[in-house]
Symmetry: C2
Subunit: 164 residues, 2 copies
């Protein structure tokens, strides 16, 4: 147990450093908070994308979520083994796989979303309602920022997609 | 290259998911942006903590930064090898090591801080000045949140300090 804030001293002067550390904290708490389902954050992203978009070709799903192909294959293996997603032949191109969410997958997705809503309450306890809304809106803008998206994609292309 | 936003669809309804993904993006860009110095984000945190606080016992430094002991040892080895930090006997307890930043360490720290300021400009390009200030202030509040800090520390204690 440390008495220090999560981002101590002058490190906290950099927005990017706040994002890095709070992202690590959020990841750790999210993985812990949904761990009882046997799934991880990356599985949630896949299931939610399939629920949002309907069946998707495996390659398009990886590109959509910026998950590298090797991680996507193991994530889909996990989801298929648990009965939450299924690979079928892509009707547009029979040589390729499409992926879809199953009825069981929709049930676990509801559970995951409830847990994530509760986690938002847990991590934002010390912010008031206006601050929570502002933070959410600003992070949402950043996640949709064309400049940041292009910058991140260029670094991923240059240095390999893995780990991103 | 993907056309999707960084956090697509309903995943973006969860603040915790925005933090997780933007944290990964920020980490990737920060590591890339300071990589030319031969150092990583964790080395920056150590150097900045030593510049902020003066020499610290190795254990206290790890606790202050929430870096697990094994990672702290390798990070300090890296910094010592590069001439940026040095281990000395802790004057309070001669059996223990204290760590201090060197003059060369202060020079590279200035360089790192300049790079991080530039990175903030890069990642926040699409936010206006008011939005940048609000985002920074809200993330700062979250990084100092007693509830979030306690929650994170309890998960670290329960599941092991590694990777946090």
């Amino acid at each position: 147990m440390s008495e220090a804030p999560l981002v101590p001293g002058k490190v906290a002067e950099h927005t990017i450093c706040l994002l890095v550390k709070l992202g690590q904290v959020a990841f750790r708490l999210a993985e812990e908070g949904i761990g009882e389902t046997g799934l991880r954050v990356r599985h949630y992203s896949v299931l939610q994308a399939l629920a949002d978009n309907g069946a998707m070709p495996q390659l398009a799903l990886g590109s959509f979520l910026r998950i590298d192909p090797a991680t996507m294959v193991t994530s889909l293996d996990d989801l298929e083994r648990a009965g939450y997603a299924e690979r079928t032949r892509d009707p547009q191109d029979r040589r390729r796989y499409a992926v879809d969410i199953t009825d069981e997958g929709r049930k676990v997705l509801d559970d995951l979303n409830r847990r994530l809503v509760a986690l938002d309450g847990d991590i934002l306890t010390d912010l008031d309602s206006t601050e929570r809304q502002s933070l959410h809106a600003l992070l949402g803008s950043l996640a949709e920022s064309p400049s940041l998206t292009a910058l991140f994609d260029s670094v991923r292309e240059r240095t390999g997609a893995k780990g991103a």
